[in-house]
């Protein structure tokens, strides 16, 4: 992370808006991380652990792949 094009991207911002304009703070509290971490994940500056990724997906009641996507093509 932090260098080049991120390989793991996410739709968290869009899902928050679809979930009644959920705030970053509200999501952070439900997932158990800080608001700064939610911001970092949304901006592709941090890839969360599998556990946090599942918690985020659970909050939005969607599957993991509906939240996160992996760019396998950048593996070369």
């Amino acid at each position: 992370m932090g260098k080049g094009k991120p390989r793991i991207t996410n739709r968290i911002r869009q899902l928050r808006l679809e979930a009644g304009q959920m705030t970053q703070q509200a999501l952070a509290e439900r997932v158990g991380v800080t608001r700064q971490t939610v911001i970092a994940i949304e901006n592709d500056r941090y890839s969360p652990s599998l556990e946090v990724a599942f918690r985020i997906a659970t909050v939005f009641a969607v599957g993991l792949e509906d939240v996160f996507s992996y760019d396998a093509a950048s593996d070369g």
């Binding site: 991380v33 800080t34 608001r35 971490t37 970092a40 592709d44 969360p48």
Partner: protein, 161 residues
Amino acid sequence: MSDMSFREKSICGTLVAVSVVAALYFWTVVEMLGAGTVNLVALGKLAVSLTIFFIIVEIVFHAVIAARSPRDAGESEDERDRLIDLKGERVGGLLLGIGVAFTIGHIALNSLMESVVSPHSGLTELLSSSHFVTANLLLFSLTVSEIGKYVSQLVYYRRGA
């Protein structure tokens, strides 16, 4: 600084405080070595004063930033904070290792010189302060490693961990 989290502000404040205290202390050490007179009592007093100054600055600074953003200050660290902390520790450990290796080289070189220099040459006076220099080299290494740790943590918070 307004878009920084409490942790980033905390690291910034500590970084500045450590840098100022270290600069004042090591400037005095270099001056003493340059003048050829090491006054350990004066240096000890300076070290105690700077330590008290550092503690007061840390308490006041953290009280101010906690009062300005009490919600951020009350948050416990999460996995990203712990990861950045560990990555910073790794950078600090590397810098400390380099400093210790350099200091070991300094000790080895001094031991070698002591065995070949005549007791009446000017070099013996310099060598007599080698314990003082060694102790301060280790302290300097520790300080640089702490500064490196804080700087790298700030970079990881800004650019991504």
